[in-house]
Amino acid sequence: MITKTILVLAAATFLANSSMAAPIDGITLSEDGRTAVFSESSGYLTTPPVHEAGTKTLFSNIGTKYPKGEYFCCFGDTISGPDSVVGSQNWAAAQFASADDAIVTEIDVAAEWAGGTNEITINLYADKGGVPGKLLKTFKATGLEGVSTCCAFAVGKDKTGIAIKGGRPYWVALTTGDPDTFAIWVDNSTDQIHGLPLAGNTGTGWLAAGYQIPQLSFGVFGK
Protein backbone atom coordinates (compact mmCIF):
# COMPACT_ATOMS: atom_id res chain seq x y z
CA MET A 1 0.00 0.00 0.00
CA ILE A 2 1.34 3.35 -0.94
CA THR A 3 0.86 6.17 1.45
CA LYS A 4 1.43 9.64 0.16
CA THR A 5 2.73 11.79 2.92
CA ILE A 6 4.39 15.12 3.23
CA LEU A 7 4.54 17.54 6.07
CA VAL A 8 3.78 21.08 5.31
CA LEU A 9 2.96 23.79 7.77
CA ALA A 10 1.42 27.07 6.91
CA ALA A 11 4.76 28.78 6.90
CA ALA A 12 6.17 26.42 4.32
CA THR A 13 3.12 26.82 2.18
CA PHE A 14 3.57 30.56 2.35
CA LEU A 15 7.19 30.26 1.40
CA ALA A 16 6.44 28.00 -1.51
CA ASN A 17 3.80 30.31 -2.82
CA SER A 18 6.10 33.28 -2.45
CA SER A 19 8.84 31.46 -4.30
CA MET A 20 6.53 30.65 -7.15
CA ALA A 21 6.73 34.20 -8.40
CA ALA A 22 10.51 33.88 -8.58
CA PRO A 23 11.01 30.16 -8.10
CA ILE A 24 14.76 30.12 -8.18
CA ASP A 25 15.61 33.40 -6.55
CA GLY A 26 18.57 32.93 -4.23
CA ILE A 27 19.66 29.59 -5.67
CA THR A 28 23.03 29.12 -7.27
CA LEU A 29 23.88 25.98 -9.17
CA SER A 30 27.29 24.41 -9.64
CA GLU A 31 28.84 24.33 -13.06
CA ASP A 32 27.32 20.96 -13.89
CA GLY A 33 23.97 22.01 -12.46
CA ARG A 34 23.88 19.10 -10.03
CA THR A 35 24.63 20.96 -6.81
CA ALA A 36 22.35 23.71 -5.54
CA VAL A 37 23.24 26.26 -2.90
CA PHE A 38 20.94 28.75 -1.20
CA SER A 39 22.38 31.92 0.22
CA GLU A 40 20.55 31.58 3.48
CA SER A 41 17.83 29.72 5.29
CA SER A 42 14.32 31.07 5.44
CA GLY A 43 14.25 30.27 9.14
CA TYR A 44 10.92 28.52 8.76
CA LEU A 45 10.42 25.53 11.02
CA THR A 46 8.51 22.62 9.58
CA THR A 47 8.33 19.66 11.86
CA PRO A 48 9.78 16.27 11.03
CA PRO A 49 7.54 13.21 10.77
CA VAL A 50 6.59 11.13 13.77
CA HIS A 51 7.39 7.46 13.33
CA GLU A 52 5.07 4.59 14.13
CA ALA A 53 5.58 3.08 17.56
CA GLY A 54 8.21 0.38 17.46
CA THR A 55 9.79 1.60 14.28
CA LYS A 56 13.52 1.04 14.21
CA THR A 57 16.15 2.86 12.28
CA LEU A 58 17.68 0.80 9.48
CA PHE A 59 19.78 3.66 8.16
CA SER A 60 19.83 7.34 9.01
CA ASN A 61 22.11 10.33 8.80
CA ILE A 62 19.42 12.66 10.12
CA GLY A 63 20.61 14.98 12.88
CA THR A 64 18.01 14.17 15.50
CA LYS A 65 20.32 15.33 18.30
CA TYR A 66 19.81 18.89 17.06
CA PRO A 67 16.10 19.38 16.32
CA LYS A 68 16.78 22.65 14.51
CA GLY A 69 19.47 21.07 12.38
CA GLU A 70 18.15 17.70 11.26
CA TYR A 71 19.83 18.36 7.93
CA PHE A 72 21.70 21.24 6.33
CA CYS A 73 19.06 23.60 5.06
CA CYS A 74 20.85 25.15 2.17
CA PHE A 75 22.96 22.87 0.06
CA GLY A 76 22.15 19.74 -1.87
CA ASP A 77 21.70 17.88 -5.13
CA THR A 78 19.48 19.04 -7.93
CA ILE A 79 16.46 16.88 -8.67
CA SER A 80 14.88 18.07 -11.89
CA GLY A 81 12.79 17.06 -14.83
CA PRO A 82 13.82 17.81 -18.42
CA ASP A 83 11.34 20.67 -18.76
CA SER A 84 12.24 22.30 -15.45
CA VAL A 85 13.95 25.66 -15.21
CA VAL A 86 17.23 23.76 -14.87
CA GLY A 87 16.72 22.50 -18.42
CA SER A 88 17.76 18.91 -17.90
CA GLN A 89 16.84 15.77 -16.04
CA ASN A 90 18.80 15.22 -12.85
CA TRP A 91 17.82 12.28 -10.67
CA ALA A 92 19.96 11.16 -7.75
CA ALA A 93 20.22 7.95 -5.78
CA ALA A 94 22.10 7.25 -2.55
CA GLN A 95 23.17 3.79 -1.49
CA PHE A 96 22.62 2.43 1.99
CA ALA A 97 22.75 -0.88 3.80
CA SER A 98 20.87 -2.21 6.79
CA ALA A 99 22.89 -4.08 9.37
CA ASP A 100 20.27 -6.81 9.65
CA ASP A 101 17.47 -8.35 7.63
CA ALA A 102 14.52 -5.99 7.97
CA ILE A 103 11.21 -4.81 6.59
CA VAL A 104 11.25 -1.24 5.30
CA THR A 105 8.07 0.59 6.23
CA GLU A 106 9.13 4.20 5.87
CA ILE A 107 11.64 6.29 3.93
CA ASP A 108 12.22 9.94 4.85
CA VAL A 109 14.06 12.18 2.43
CA ALA A 110 15.15 15.78 3.02
CA ALA A 111 13.74 17.15 -0.22
CA GLU A 112 12.85 20.80 -0.77
CA TRP A 113 10.82 22.22 -3.60
CA ALA A 114 12.38 24.90 -5.80
CA GLY A 115 10.03 25.27 -8.77
CA GLY A 116 7.56 23.65 -11.15
CA THR A 117 5.19 20.92 -10.05
CA ASN A 118 5.53 20.36 -6.33
CA GLU A 119 5.91 16.61 -6.42
CA ILE A 120 8.73 14.10 -6.37
CA THR A 121 8.98 10.34 -6.35
CA ILE A 122 10.83 8.41 -3.67
CA ASN A 123 12.09 5.08 -4.93
CA LEU A 124 13.63 2.08 -3.22
CA TYR A 125 15.83 -0.02 -5.47
CA ALA A 126 17.86 -3.18 -5.10
CA ASP A 127 21.49 -2.85 -6.12
CA LYS A 128 22.74 -4.12 -9.46
CA GLY A 129 26.46 -3.83 -9.99
CA GLY A 130 26.82 -0.63 -8.01
CA VAL A 131 23.85 1.26 -9.41
CA PRO A 132 20.10 1.09 -8.76
CA GLY A 133 18.67 -2.11 -10.20
CA LYS A 134 15.24 -3.62 -9.58
CA LEU A 135 12.64 -1.15 -8.40
CA LEU A 136 11.20 -2.40 -5.12
CA LYS A 137 8.86 0.42 -4.23
CA THR A 138 7.78 3.85 -5.34
CA PHE A 139 6.18 6.58 -3.26
CA LYS A 140 4.86 9.83 -4.65
CA ALA A 141 5.28 12.84 -2.34
CA THR A 142 3.57 16.17 -2.93
CA GLY A 143 3.57 19.47 -1.08
CA LEU A 144 7.28 19.58 -0.39
CA GLU A 145 8.49 22.37 1.84
CA GLY A 146 10.12 25.30 0.10
CA VAL A 147 13.86 25.61 -0.25
CA SER A 148 16.02 26.61 2.68
CA THR A 149 13.61 25.56 5.40
CA CYS A 150 14.06 22.95 8.07
CA CYS A 151 13.13 20.26 9.22
CA ALA A 152 10.36 18.55 7.29
CA PHE A 153 10.87 15.47 5.13
CA ALA A 154 9.25 13.93 2.10
CA VAL A 155 7.93 10.67 3.49
CA GLY A 156 7.01 7.39 1.90
CA LYS A 157 5.22 4.83 4.05
CA ASP A 158 4.29 1.25 3.36
CA LYS A 159 2.49 -0.60 6.11
CA THR A 160 3.10 -3.99 4.55
CA GLY A 161 6.76 -3.22 4.11
CA ILE A 162 9.51 -4.25 1.76
CA ALA A 163 11.91 -6.97 2.83
CA ILE A 164 15.61 -6.18 2.59
CA LYS A 165 18.66 -8.26 3.47
CA GLY A 166 21.19 -7.20 6.05
CA GLY A 167 24.56 -6.16 4.70
CA ARG A 168 23.38 -5.79 1.13
CA PRO A 169 23.38 -2.46 -0.66
CA TYR A 170 20.08 -0.82 -1.59
CA TRP A 171 19.32 2.56 -3.06
CA VAL A 172 17.00 5.41 -2.21
CA ALA A 173 16.41 7.53 -5.28
CA LEU A 174 14.58 10.77 -5.90
CA THR A 175 13.06 11.14 -9.34
CA THR A 176 10.54 13.42 -10.97
CA GLY A 177 7.16 12.39 -12.30
CA ASP A 178 6.31 15.70 -13.83
CA PRO A 179 8.89 17.02 -16.28
CA ASP A 180 8.89 20.57 -14.90
CA THR A 181 9.70 19.74 -11.29
CA PHE A 182 12.80 21.31 -9.74
CA ALA A 183 13.62 20.18 -6.20
CA ILE A 184 16.69 19.91 -4.01
CA TRP A 185 17.76 16.88 -2.00
CA VAL A 186 19.75 18.54 0.76
CA ASP A 187 22.85 17.25 2.51
CA ASN A 188 23.08 15.70 5.92
CA SER A 189 24.30 17.57 8.98
CA THR A 190 25.82 14.73 10.97
CA ASP A 191 28.77 13.48 8.95
CA GLN A 192 31.03 15.59 6.76
CA ILE A 193 33.69 12.93 6.36
CA HIS A 194 32.21 9.65 5.19
CA GLY A 195 30.56 9.39 1.81
CA LEU A 196 27.92 7.12 0.38
CA PRO A 197 27.91 5.73 -3.14
CA LEU A 198 25.91 8.00 -5.40
CA ALA A 199 24.24 7.35 -8.73
CA GLY A 200 22.72 9.77 -11.18
CA ASN A 201 20.26 9.47 -14.02
CA THR A 202 20.20 12.27 -16.57
CA GLY A 203 17.90 10.44 -18.94
CA THR A 204 20.01 7.55 -20.11
CA GLY A 205 19.74 5.27 -17.10
CA TRP A 206 21.46 5.08 -13.75
CA LEU A 207 25.20 5.67 -13.75
CA ALA A 208 27.63 5.49 -10.85
CA ALA A 209 28.64 8.95 -9.67
CA GLY A 210 31.28 8.16 -7.09
CA TYR A 211 31.01 8.89 -3.41
CA GLN A 212 28.94 11.78 -2.18
CA ILE A 213 30.50 13.77 0.64
CA PRO A 214 28.59 14.94 2.51
CA GLN A 215 25.88 12.33 2.14
CA LEU A 216 22.42 13.32 1.04
CA SER A 217 20.09 13.41 4.03
CA PHE A 218 17.66 10.54 4.46
CA GLY A 219 16.47 7.87 6.83
CA VAL A 220 15.15 4.37 6.25
CA PHE A 221 12.94 2.92 8.95
CA GLY A 222 11.18 -0.35 9.51
CA LYS A 223 10.85 -3.40 11.65
Binding site: T28, F75, Q212
Partner: protein, 226 residues
Protein backbone atom coordinates in the same frame (compact mmCIF):
# COMPACT_ATOMS: atom_id res chain seq x y z
CA UNK B 1 33.14 47.15 -7.96
CA UNK B 2 32.31 44.01 -9.83
CA UNK B 3 32.10 40.88 -7.80
CA UNK B 4 33.14 38.04 -9.99
CA UNK B 5 31.13 34.96 -9.49
CA UNK B 6 31.40 31.46 -10.77
CA UNK B 7 29.30 31.11 -13.84
CA UNK B 8 27.51 27.99 -14.76
CA UNK B 9 25.68 26.95 -17.77
CA UNK B 10 22.54 26.14 -15.93
CA UNK B 11 23.10 28.82 -13.38
CA UNK B 12 23.18 31.36 -16.12
CA UNK B 13 19.53 30.52 -16.37
CA UNK B 14 19.07 30.01 -12.71
CA UNK B 15 21.31 32.38 -10.87
CA UNK B 16 20.82 35.16 -13.32
CA UNK B 17 23.61 37.32 -12.03
CA UNK B 18 26.59 35.08 -12.17
CA UNK B 19 29.71 35.87 -14.15
CA UNK B 20 32.92 33.99 -14.70
CA UNK B 21 35.82 34.83 -12.44
CA UNK B 22 39.28 33.88 -13.52
CA UNK B 23 41.28 31.84 -11.11
CA UNK B 24 38.45 30.50 -8.99
CA UNK B 25 39.33 26.91 -8.15
CA UNK B 26 37.29 24.20 -9.79
CA UNK B 27 34.27 23.19 -7.77
CA UNK B 28 33.96 26.47 -5.91
CA UNK B 29 30.52 28.07 -6.10
CA UNK B 30 29.90 31.68 -5.20
CA UNK B 31 26.44 32.96 -4.45
CA UNK B 32 25.00 35.95 -6.21
CA UNK B 33 26.81 38.86 -4.63
CA UNK B 34 29.63 36.60 -3.48
CA UNK B 35 28.74 36.52 0.22
CA UNK B 36 28.51 32.72 0.37
CA UNK B 37 31.29 30.42 -0.77
CA UNK B 38 30.63 26.73 -1.31
CA UNK B 39 32.39 23.71 -2.68
CA UNK B 40 30.39 21.15 -4.60
CA UNK B 41 31.76 18.18 -2.66
CA UNK B 42 33.51 17.58 0.61
CA UNK B 43 37.05 16.27 0.56
CA UNK B 44 36.46 13.72 3.30
CA UNK B 45 39.58 14.94 5.05
CA UNK B 46 39.20 14.84 8.82
CA UNK B 47 41.25 16.98 11.14
CA UNK B 48 40.45 16.93 14.83
CA UNK B 49 39.20 20.00 16.65
CA UNK B 50 41.36 21.55 19.37
CA UNK B 51 41.37 20.42 22.95
CA UNK B 52 40.28 23.02 25.42
CA UNK B 53 42.08 23.99 28.55
CA UNK B 54 40.96 22.20 31.67
CA UNK B 55 38.03 23.96 33.22
CA UNK B 56 37.13 25.95 30.12
CA UNK B 57 33.40 26.54 29.92
CA UNK B 58 31.21 27.38 26.99
CA UNK B 59 30.18 31.03 26.73
CA UNK B 60 28.67 30.55 23.28
CA UNK B 61 28.73 27.70 20.78
CA UNK B 62 26.81 26.51 17.76
CA UNK B 63 29.16 23.61 17.08
CA UNK B 64 27.76 20.11 16.71
CA UNK B 65 29.84 18.43 19.35
CA UNK B 66 27.34 15.54 19.47
CA UNK B 67 28.43 14.54 15.96
CA UNK B 68 32.19 14.28 15.95
CA UNK B 69 32.36 13.95 12.15
CA UNK B 70 29.98 16.83 11.61
CA UNK B 71 31.14 19.62 13.85
CA UNK B 72 30.11 22.12 11.17
CA UNK B 73 29.07 22.01 7.52
CA UNK B 74 32.10 21.18 5.41
CA UNK B 75 31.12 22.83 2.23
CA UNK B 76 29.43 26.18 2.49
CA UNK B 77 30.09 29.33 4.46
CA UNK B 78 30.49 33.06 4.65
CA UNK B 79 33.06 34.44 2.24
CA UNK B 80 36.24 35.85 3.77
CA UNK B 81 38.39 37.71 1.30
CA UNK B 82 41.09 40.33 1.13
CA UNK B 83 40.85 43.05 -1.46
CA UNK B 84 43.69 41.49 -3.43
CA UNK B 85 42.19 38.02 -3.53
CA UNK B 86 40.91 36.46 -6.73
CA UNK B 87 37.51 37.93 -5.83
CA UNK B 88 39.01 41.42 -6.15
CA UNK B 89 37.02 42.67 -3.21
CA UNK B 90 37.24 42.70 0.56
CA UNK B 91 34.68 40.76 2.54
CA UNK B 92 35.11 40.40 6.27
CA UNK B 93 32.20 38.72 8.06
CA UNK B 94 31.29 39.08 11.73
CA UNK B 95 28.79 37.18 13.88
CA UNK B 96 27.25 38.49 17.05
CA UNK B 97 26.86 36.42 20.19
CA UNK B 98 25.51 37.06 23.62
CA UNK B 99 27.59 36.05 26.63
CA UNK B 100 25.73 33.44 28.62
CA UNK B 101 27.35 34.52 31.91
CA UNK B 102 29.86 36.92 33.36
CA UNK B 103 33.10 35.32 32.27
CA UNK B 104 36.61 35.81 31.01
CA UNK B 105 37.08 34.73 27.40
CA UNK B 106 40.24 32.69 27.02
CA UNK B 107 39.58 31.04 23.68
CA UNK B 108 37.43 31.45 20.61
CA UNK B 109 37.31 28.88 17.85
CA UNK B 110 36.18 29.57 14.32
CA UNK B 111 35.39 27.11 11.50
CA UNK B 112 37.31 28.90 8.80
CA UNK B 113 38.82 27.16 5.77
CA UNK B 114 41.20 28.32 3.08
CA UNK B 115 39.99 28.48 -0.51
CA UNK B 116 43.09 30.03 -2.08
CA UNK B 117 45.74 32.69 -1.51
CA UNK B 118 47.81 33.32 1.59
CA UNK B 119 46.90 30.85 4.29
CA UNK B 120 46.16 33.15 7.17
CA UNK B 121 43.35 35.15 8.72
CA UNK B 122 42.84 37.23 11.81
CA UNK B 123 40.30 36.18 14.42
CA UNK B 124 38.87 39.16 16.25
CA UNK B 125 36.70 39.71 19.29
CA UNK B 126 34.80 42.98 19.37
CA UNK B 127 32.51 44.73 21.81
CA UNK B 128 29.14 45.71 20.38
CA UNK B 129 28.48 49.27 19.29
CA UNK B 130 24.82 49.77 18.40
CA UNK B 131 24.49 46.47 16.65
CA UNK B 132 27.86 46.45 14.94
CA UNK B 133 31.37 45.47 15.92
CA UNK B 134 32.80 48.28 18.05
CA UNK B 135 35.93 48.29 20.20
CA UNK B 136 38.44 45.63 19.29
CA UNK B 137 39.02 43.50 22.38
CA UNK B 138 41.36 40.88 20.98
CA UNK B 139 42.91 39.88 17.67
CA UNK B 140 44.87 36.74 16.90
CA UNK B 141 46.54 35.83 13.62
CA UNK B 142 45.96 32.23 12.55
CA UNK B 143 47.89 30.42 9.84
CA UNK B 144 47.68 26.94 8.38
CA UNK B 145 43.94 26.82 7.88
CA UNK B 146 42.50 23.56 6.57
CA UNK B 147 41.31 23.44 3.00
CA UNK B 148 37.69 24.06 2.17
CA UNK B 149 35.53 20.95 2.11
CA UNK B 150 37.20 19.36 5.11
CA UNK B 151 36.10 18.89 8.70
CA UNK B 152 36.54 19.33 11.74
CA UNK B 153 39.55 21.47 12.39
CA UNK B 154 39.10 24.96 13.81
CA UNK B 155 41.06 28.17 13.75
CA UNK B 156 41.81 28.91 17.39
CA UNK B 157 42.46 32.16 19.20
CA UNK B 158 43.71 31.82 22.76
CA UNK B 159 44.32 34.49 25.36
CA UNK B 160 45.62 33.20 28.67
CA UNK B 161 44.96 36.44 30.47
CA UNK B 162 41.46 36.59 29.10
CA UNK B 163 38.93 39.23 28.12
CA UNK B 164 36.09 39.93 30.55
CA UNK B 165 32.58 39.72 29.11
CA UNK B 166 29.28 40.51 30.79
CA UNK B 167 26.28 38.20 30.89
CA UNK B 168 23.61 39.25 28.44
CA UNK B 169 25.85 41.70 26.62
CA UNK B 170 26.48 41.41 22.89
CA UNK B 171 29.89 40.78 21.40
CA UNK B 172 31.20 39.96 17.95
CA UNK B 173 33.57 37.44 16.48
CA UNK B 174 34.94 38.53 13.12
CA UNK B 175 37.28 36.98 10.58
CA UNK B 176 39.42 39.51 8.77
CA UNK B 177 42.56 39.70 6.67
CA UNK B 178 45.59 41.95 7.08
CA UNK B 179 48.63 43.31 5.27
CA UNK B 180 50.40 39.97 5.33
CA UNK B 181 47.48 38.21 3.68
CA UNK B 182 46.42 40.58 0.95
CA UNK B 183 45.24 37.79 -1.36
CA UNK B 184 43.57 35.51 1.16
CA UNK B 185 40.28 33.90 0.11
CA UNK B 186 38.66 31.72 2.78
CA UNK B 187 35.23 30.69 3.90
CA UNK B 188 33.74 30.65 7.39
CA UNK B 189 31.74 27.43 7.38
CA UNK B 190 28.12 27.39 8.46
CA UNK B 191 26.92 25.62 11.56
CA UNK B 192 24.87 22.42 11.41
CA UNK B 193 23.06 22.66 14.73
CA UNK B 194 20.54 25.39 14.00
CA UNK B 195 19.06 26.14 10.60
CA UNK B 196 16.28 28.29 11.99
CA UNK B 197 17.46 30.93 14.45
CA UNK B 198 19.35 33.93 13.17
CA UNK B 199 22.45 35.50 14.62
CA UNK B 200 22.98 39.17 13.82
CA UNK B 201 25.75 39.48 11.30
CA UNK B 202 27.85 42.29 9.91
CA UNK B 203 30.24 42.68 7.05
CA UNK B 204 33.10 45.02 6.27
CA UNK B 205 33.74 45.48 2.57
CA UNK B 206 36.37 48.14 3.04
CA UNK B 207 34.40 51.07 4.33
CA UNK B 208 33.63 49.94 7.85
CA UNK B 209 31.24 47.53 9.49
CA UNK B 210 27.69 47.48 8.24
CA UNK B 211 24.85 45.24 9.23
CA UNK B 212 24.31 42.13 7.16
CA UNK B 213 21.02 41.14 8.76
CA UNK B 214 20.31 37.92 10.58
CA UNK B 215 22.46 35.04 9.44
CA UNK B 216 20.57 31.77 9.04
CA UNK B 217 22.38 29.52 9.26
CA UNK B 218 25.04 31.40 11.19
CA UNK B 219 28.69 30.74 10.64
CA UNK B 220 30.13 28.20 13.05
CA UNK B 221 32.09 29.33 16.08
CA UNK B 222 32.44 28.93 19.81
CA UNK B 223 33.64 31.12 22.66
CA UNK B 224 35.16 29.61 25.78
CA UNK B 225 36.36 31.00 29.06
CA UNK B 226 36.38 30.75 32.78
Amino acid sequence: MIVKVLAVTAAALVGGNTAMASGIPAGIILSKGGSVTSIAHGTGIYMPPPRHDDGARVIFSNMATRYTDGLYFCCSGATVSASGSILNSQSWPAMQFTASANAVVTEFDVAVQLVTGTNEVDLNLYADDNGLPGSLLDSVKVTGLPGTGSCCSLAVAKDKKGIPVTAGAHYWVAVTTDASGTDTFANWAFNTTDQLDALPSAVNKGSGWVTNGGAVPAASFAVYGK
